[in-house]
């Protein structure tokens, strides 16, 4: 056999490795990684050393200590004697609550406004554009202050609260509504609701199969809606139709009993929802406009009705354009919820800042903030990416 001649073959050991492009790239990456780790380690150890020299406490041990401050609203039970860890949990759940509700409401509102902006009715279209332009161009922090001010300044004190309906009160302490008193029937109503949802899904699958087979259509949506509304009501009536409500009653300084929506929560939810909905409206409008007009015309010439054109031709294509930018709006809303501190809603950052200040453990608190927001953001992204790939056009 001929021995291949050439410089390469003469190299051995390190030199050979160095001249192998693949090995070289691995070496580069290893060196880069090593440097990053080294820098990280330097920052970390230097931080610890500095904190120690300045006599500033470190570590997460404080999470087990009693917090000592009260929190105005909480989804889980919390008292001042509970730990800082639990206070963080309260803040986290409050953030989740406002973010989740905000995302749902902003999506609904944004979609409606986005479609209205395309309306052929001049007034409707202009009103929708005004909504978008005003809300989109004012900093959201200012909007929160405005909502909060409107709620606390214009609404009367609890003793002079508005009562638009019996048992429903509106005052500068919030929005109070009657709470249904616990009853076993509520459990059955929940089961009925679940059943209705499952039946609707089954109905949809059946209707689809039947349509594929026979071409016959079935009004799935009205039927599902009827079931979802009716089944719990039937369960409630079978259970003896209990109508015991705990009414909010003015007692001393404020209303006791019932369900309370605080001004802080209300202002934050309103502010985040309307602000984000303006962006979503633009995305929806852009998405719909992005679908080639020929598609609509083709669908119309097939004799499809307008609603069906929107539902089966335009929206599926528009969604591909809508979902990715909407994802980043969801992320924005979640992150903007940390502006809650400004108006006193006890979200994660608000509770965390207080903890930071009472314990002095800035680095730990900031680490918790970053971890939580990063996890939220990643979770939203993963979900939306999954959804996006599901609705992606399948080329046939």
């Amino acid at each position: 056999m001929t021995v291949p001649t050439g410089v390469e073959t003469n190299r051995t050991g390190v030199a050979a490795l160095w001249h192998d492009p693949q090995a070289r790239s691995i070496i580069y990456q290893a060196v880069a990684l090593g440097l990053v780790i080294l820098a990280g380690w330097y920052l970390f150890s230097n931080t610890l050393q500095n904190l120690e020299e300045r006599n500033i406490s470190t570590g997460f041990g404080f999470l087990d200590r009693s917090a000592g401050f009260s929190i105005s609203e909480s989804l889980v039970s919390y008292e001042a004697s509970d730990t800082y860890g639990r206070a963080f949990l309260v803040g986290l759940l409050n953030t989740l609550q406002v973010a989740l509700l905000g995302i749902i409401l902003a999506t609904i509102l944004g979609t409606i406004v986005g479609i209205l902006r395309l309306s052929t009715n001049w007034l409707v279209a202009k009103l929708a554009s005004a909504y978008v332009e005003i809300l989109r161009n004012i900093p959201v922090l200012l909007q929160l202050f405005v909502w909060y001010g409107v709620i606390t300044i214009t609404l009367p004190s609890p003793r002079q609260a508005f009562e638009p309906m019996p048992g429903v009160f509106l005052s500068n302490r919030g929005f109070m509504i009657p709470a249904p008193v616990d009853d076993p029937v509520h459990g059955y109503m929940g089961i009925a609701l679940l059943l209705a949802i499952l039946l609707s899904l089954a109905l949809r699958a059946w209707a689809r199969r039947r349509q594929n087979r026979t071409g016959l259509q079935f009004p799935v949506f009205p039927c599902s809606l009827a079931m979802i509304l009716a089944l719990p009501i039937i369960a409630w009536m079978v259970g003896g139709a209990p109508v015991v409500f705990e009414l909010p009653i003015l007692e001393g300084f404020n209303f006791q009993g019932g369900i309370t929506l605080s001004p802080e929560f209300g202002a934050l939810l309103l502010g985040l929802t309307t602000y984000t909905s303006a962006f979503i409206a633009e995305i929806v409008r852009g998405g719909i406009l992005g679908v080639d007009h020929g598609q609509t015309e083709a669908a119309a010439s097939l004799g499809l009705r307008r609603v069906r054109v929107l539902r089966f031709i335009v929206l599926p294509q528009a969604l591909r354009l809508i979902v990715p930018p909407t994802t980043s709006q969801y992320l924005n809303l979640t992150k903007n919820s940390s502006l809650a501190v400004a108006i006193g809603y006890p979200d994660l950052v608000s509770v965390g800042n207080t903890t930071l200040n009472q314990t002095g453990q800035a680095i730990e608190a900031v680490t918790i903030f970053m971890t939580v927001y990063l996890s939220f953001s990643l979770a939203i992204s993963v979900f939306m990416n999954w959804y996006n790939s599901r609705i992606a056009l399948v080329e046939r």
Binding site: N46, E53, R54, G344, S350, T354, N357, I363, A365
Partner: protein
Amino acid sequence: MTLKSFLAAGAFVAASAVAMPAIAGETLDAVRDRGELRCGVNTGLAGFSNPDSEGNWQGLDVDVCKAIAASILGDADAVSYTPLTAQQRFTALQSGEVDVLSRNTTWTLTRDTSLGLHFAPITFYDGQGFMVRKELGVESVHDLDGATICVQPGTTTELNLADFFRANEMDFEPVVIEDFEEVNAAYFAGRCDAYTTDSSGLASVRSTAPDPTAHMILPEIISKEPLGPAVRQGDDEFFNIVKWVVYALIEAEEYGVNSENLEEMRETSENPGIKRLLGAEPGMGEHLDLEEDWAYNAIEAVGNYGEIFERNVGPDTDLGLERGINGLWTDGGLMYAMPVR
């Protein structure tokens, strides 16, 4: 404000990661090089630290800053003020954004030990009180069961409030807002039944009310709030300076030295204590690594402690506070300077 406190925390994190360890003496050198003292003050608490209509900072806490600057640099105006909320103040001091924190800050064990701070002598002995709208008909803190109460986060106020209601088995709903203006606005708008903070702060907030007579301060005081300036640990030289400037202001009042008779006293007084204080008898300045006229300059700029009190928070001001426990020990108060000798 929010963003600012976040940035302050961030800056602190970054500073801790790269900063060199504190070396004794570095703060004094830095102040001298800069020609300016960086002082952390309140965002606007009448009587303590509040910019006047021309933007000049005024108040008891501000005068402490001025006295320190006068002692070190010979110029009471060589101060840059950083307004800080309760939440921002400690990180601002820890990260080196300010040299000294003179911002109605309560001296507590936790702050002293775990935040890396040293507290200089107390400049105002305070206690926490409550303010309510008169129309509520509340006479005592014990009538506040079930009330909604406005409070600022990151304060001892917030902790005392929870402790007090727990100990008395009463309920309350807190409304916790960081920004001072916003929390005051919330109270004045009726979002809260009561407002709680240090009673000096209550007097100040009440004086800014649309109608001060519509509000009353309840008689009970539920805590001890010794307020004093704080510095970073690890720089004993600077700590000593701040400590002794405060003592000098009090000692001056004890000796009857004030901003008017100061010069005359330095020339003519035969009292060895006064001579040491004002530098007619050298030595004290040298121990502090300052000029011998350090205390002289401080008193010349802001007066003795009594003058500072009267001018900023005393009976003739909007706050209208009596000396009370903030009087000299010789008058039955708590102000007692360690001997300058």
